[in-house]
Symmetry: C2
Subunit: 106 residues, 2 copies
DNA sequence: CAAACGTGATACCTTTTGGTTTCACGTTAA
DNA sequence: TTAACGTGAAACCAAAAGGTATCACGTTTG
């Protein structure tokens, strides 16, 4: 497992991947379903999904011969955590945010 | 001016650039000063600073023959804004955060 | 079982990115 | 006015990123 924070930032850096995240925020989808929303091959979308998975932003679950991609609501934590570290301006508010995340992890 | 949100995410995707941001969170610096903290040429650091500038994360000000690089505390706004849009889970807390940013822009 | 389906993985290509070296240009100091 | 200084910018290079096409493999369905 390489640097999760780096993988998370990297995953968010591509507009297609951010679009995928927004898609999955609505419903979980198979690769084929996700692919149908983009003008590129399934293989390309699969690569994006792998990067998102490396960044901890989605979770993949096998269901028969399909793989369902689900958004990980805690995946943004590394980004928020870094923002908090870097800029004391946000500290109070982001601290509250992080606390909320931890609590929700039940 | 291309997509600021994209440029902002892209700027944050590189670990060296995140390090630079953390450096500049302490003090403003000339290019030469920033470069002295990294094991790479001044030209390479200059490129990183350009990317950070494109992302709206730093501001550059001429001072004599030097250029001073200063952190833009509001530069993260596009990222926070996107996080807010994508995930209703954060809405309440991030809305408060955004309000705080706008107020501070005075 | 055989065929169709959904996926994973590889090889390959093009563009972008992160880095270097080098040189030109304005600014300051002697 | 030179000479040194700090920077900007270009040419160039290797590696990574984003994409394609293709094939192999397990899982359903007739």
């Amino acid at each position: 497992m390489t640097d999760l924070t780096q993988n998370c930032f990297r995953a968010l850096a591509d507009p297609t991947r951010r679009d995928i995240i927004q898609l999955l925020a609505g419903t979980e989808m198979t690769i084929a379903e996700v692919s149908s929303h983009f003008d590129m091959t399934r293989a390309a979308v699969k690569k994006h999904l792998s990067v998102l998975s490396d960044g901890g932003l989605i979770e993949v679950q096998a269901r028969g011969r399909e793989k369902v991609n689900r958004l990980n609501r805690h995946g943004m934590a590394p980004v928020l955590s870094w923002l908090e570290y870097f800029d004391s301006f946000w500290d109070d508010r982001l601290a509250a945010l992080k606390t909320a995340i931890e609590k929700d992890k039940s």
